[in-house]
């Protein structure tokens, strides 16, 4: 579903009257894709605006799109990933005689304001934000972090999205939300090649690394303002990117994510997010990284005996953990200690903290000027992502 592709007002999928959906007044279509439409709708009881996606239950001569969508939604609901702040929330799923429908938050207006019932309303998608212009380094990094955090939650739940692209990145309350879960499926070696062709990796495998590949292309589009057809050219943005370390580092992340051989890409969105939040690692040329890796391997092998001796005295396992709060920008305390990066900068959510000792911690968050609140005690040997909201 390409939420950004606009269709004429007051024209349903069949070009006639708005469909009947229980409890909702269907206002007008705001997006259309291969298997359905998204309508702006008002809740008849509360008056709240919602986005309602409709998928016809039967389409002559086609595979049953609704059954695939239902399977995806069922997987999503069963997985933990469906509640992530960077995934578009689905509030309700239902059926009529003709349609499968599901109810979601409407995207902000492309102008940056909230969704409205006005005729000028256009859903704010990353695609609409791009419009042929590159984004600022700050926005690129922010959106990349949010996209990868949402995707990482799907990957952590063992699912792949299969249709990551700017048109499926919506803004709701100015936060990026990965949308359109119609192609979400479990990770499986035989996952079919489906999705948007331009964002598919050349190897054809549609696994987590394929989502990583697509995310790499989205980052490329943000930093260059160019379309995926032109990847990896930088066009007129060469000087801007080479003179901005943040953009140069995002370019390298994109190139890493879009390696031709899947095994050379980050293994999933979590690994990619970790790379994004670790710019020092990115600054090294890859050949040097490989050299270091080789030296490291030799060193590890050589130190094996020493390691086993060390292990007898220390059981410290290290891990990387994602911290996500709704809203963002919370400071993180582990056992009462404010978490800071190597350069002394304070970590704020959403972020990944690397190299933590994998043990139990009391986890607290704090927004500036507000009292600290406890999220709970977590065993980091078992938890790789902590998602919390203030009480």
């Amino acid at each position: 579903m390409d939420v950004a592709s606009q269709v004429g007002a007051n024209a349903g999928e069949d070009g006639r009257t708005p469909p009947e959906i229980p409890d909702f007044e269907m206002l007008r279509p705001v997006g259309r894709g291969g298997f359905g439409e998204v309508w702006l709708a008002g809740n008849r009881t509360t008056g709240q605006l919602r986005a309602v996606k409709l998928i016809r239950l039967r389409l002559p001569g086609q595979v049953d799109p609704a059954s695939r969508e239902i399977a995806s939604l069922t997987r999503l609901e069963a997985g933990r990933g469906c509640r992530h702040p960077n995934l578009l929330a689905i509030h309700h799923v239902g059926k009529t005689d003709q349609y499968l429908f599901y109810v979601m938050d409407p995207a902000d207006d492309v102008s940056g304001g909230p969704a409205s019932n006005g005729p000028e309303y256009r859903p704010a998608t990353l695609q609409a934000r791009l419009e042929g212009k590159p984004l600022s380094a700050e926005a690129c990094r922010d959106y990349a972090t949010q996209l990868l955090a949402g995707l990482a939650s799907l990957h952590q739940a063992g699912m792949v999205h299969r249709d990551v692209k700017p048109a499926n990145c919506l803004f709701v309350d100015r936060k990026l939300k990965l949308a359109d879960f119609g192609l979400v499926t479990d990770v499986h070696p035989l996952v079919s090649r489906i999705g948007t062709q331009k964002y598919m990796p050349p190897d054809g495998r549609m696994d987590m690394r394929a989502d990583v590949y697509a995310a790499g292309l989205v980052i490329y589009e943000m930093i260059s303002g160019l379309t995926v057809d032109e990847f990896p050219s930088l066009g007129p943005q060469v000087d801007r990117i080479r003179n901005d370390p943040a953009l140069a580092s995002l370019l390298q992340l994109s190139l890493h994510a879009c390696e031709r051989q899947p095994e050379r890409r980050p293994e999933d969105a979590r690994a990619m997010l970790a790379e994004l939040t670790s710019p020092a690692r990115m600054a090294e040329p890859s050949s040097r990284r490989h050299l270091f890796a080789a030296i490291g391997t030799v060193a590890v092998l050589g130190a094996a005996a020493l390691g086993s001796w060390f292990f007898a005295f220390s059981h410290e396992t290290r891990c990387d953990v994602n911290f996500v709060t709704e809203p963002y920008e919370a400071r993180i305390y582990l056992d009462g200690v404010l978490q800071r990066g190597a350069e002394g900068n304070i970590y704020t959510t959403p972020c990944t903290i690397h190299d933590l000792v994998a043990r139990r911690y009391r986890v607290e968050f704090e927004y500036p000027g507000q009292p600290r609140w406890q999220a709970g005690t977590y065993d980091l040997a078992r938890t790789r992502q902590i998602v919390a909201s203030p009480p």
Partner: protein
């Protein structure tokens, strides 16, 4: 490589519902149509309208042109369609009103075309399209890092060290990749090799390529026109 329009693509285009074939056709030909219209003095806005009109005309006449080498090239048939559309726009009263001078508010202006003959202009634009297609071939064959290193060194004039910093390759790897890709490009573009100006010609073609903003605008416009068909 798209040195001639492949019969299979034309055959697939006859099936109006074959979205992938139409996307391939659009992706390859719209920059040529747009480039021709601009070269013939059309404003950006008018050139976008002409792309839209041409795509619609090809869609409507998809049964008329059948691949038959004996009946002439698709390039010539398309060239005729494009030239006619440009001429139609010239004849529009609104455009004639603005025709003598600068851009109107919407840019629907036909500035007088230069000395260049329309056939020559179409051939030149088509040649640029072929050169970009060559570049596309080597881009698809190469890893993204290697191709970007090649572009940065060959077209942007960056040093190996700087290209390496941006691509994450060592300086040596940048030079090796650039050399290998350039050799391959020269190999593919054999007719230009003798002139020794292949890189210059490609640079010109790259500079003449429509901007990303135009690309997005045209894509949206054509999607809206063709979407319901």
């Amino acid at each position: 490589m798209a040195t001639s329009t492949r019969a299979t693509l034309l055959e697939r285009l006859r099936d109006g519902a074959n979205a992938l074939a139409w996307e391939e056709f659009f992706g390859h030909y719209w920059p040529l149509v747009y480039g021709f219209a601009r070269r013939r003095g059309c404003s950006e806005h008018t050139a976008e309208e002409i792309v839209q009109d041409v795509m619609l005309a090809v869609f409507q006449h998809r049964d008329v042109y059948q691949y038959d080498p004996g009946r002439g090239r698709f390039r010539d048939w398309l060239g005729t369609v494009v030239r006619n559309k440009v001429a139609e726009h010239r004849r529009k009263p609104a455009n004639r009103l603005h025709g003598a001078g600068g851009d109107s508010e919407r840019g629907a202006v036909e500035e007088p075309a230069g000395e260049e003959d329309a056939d020559e202009a179409w051939e030149a634009i088509f040649e640029q399209g072929l050169l970009l297609a060559l570049l596309d071939v080597v881009r698809r064959e190469s890893s993204a890092r290697a191709y970007l290193a090649f572009e940065l060194v060959t077209f942007e004039g960056l040093s190996g060290k700087e290209a390496g910093r941006l691509t994450g390759l060592s300086r040596n790897a940048v030079y090796k990749a650039s050399r290998r890709i350039l050799d391959r490009l020269v190999d593919l573009g054999a007719p230009y090799r003798e002139e020794g100006r292949l890189v210059d010609r490609i640079k010109q073609a790259l500079e003449a390529r429509p901007s990303a903003a135009v690309r997005r605008s045209v894509t949206t416009r054509v999607q809206q026109t063709m979407g319901g068909r």
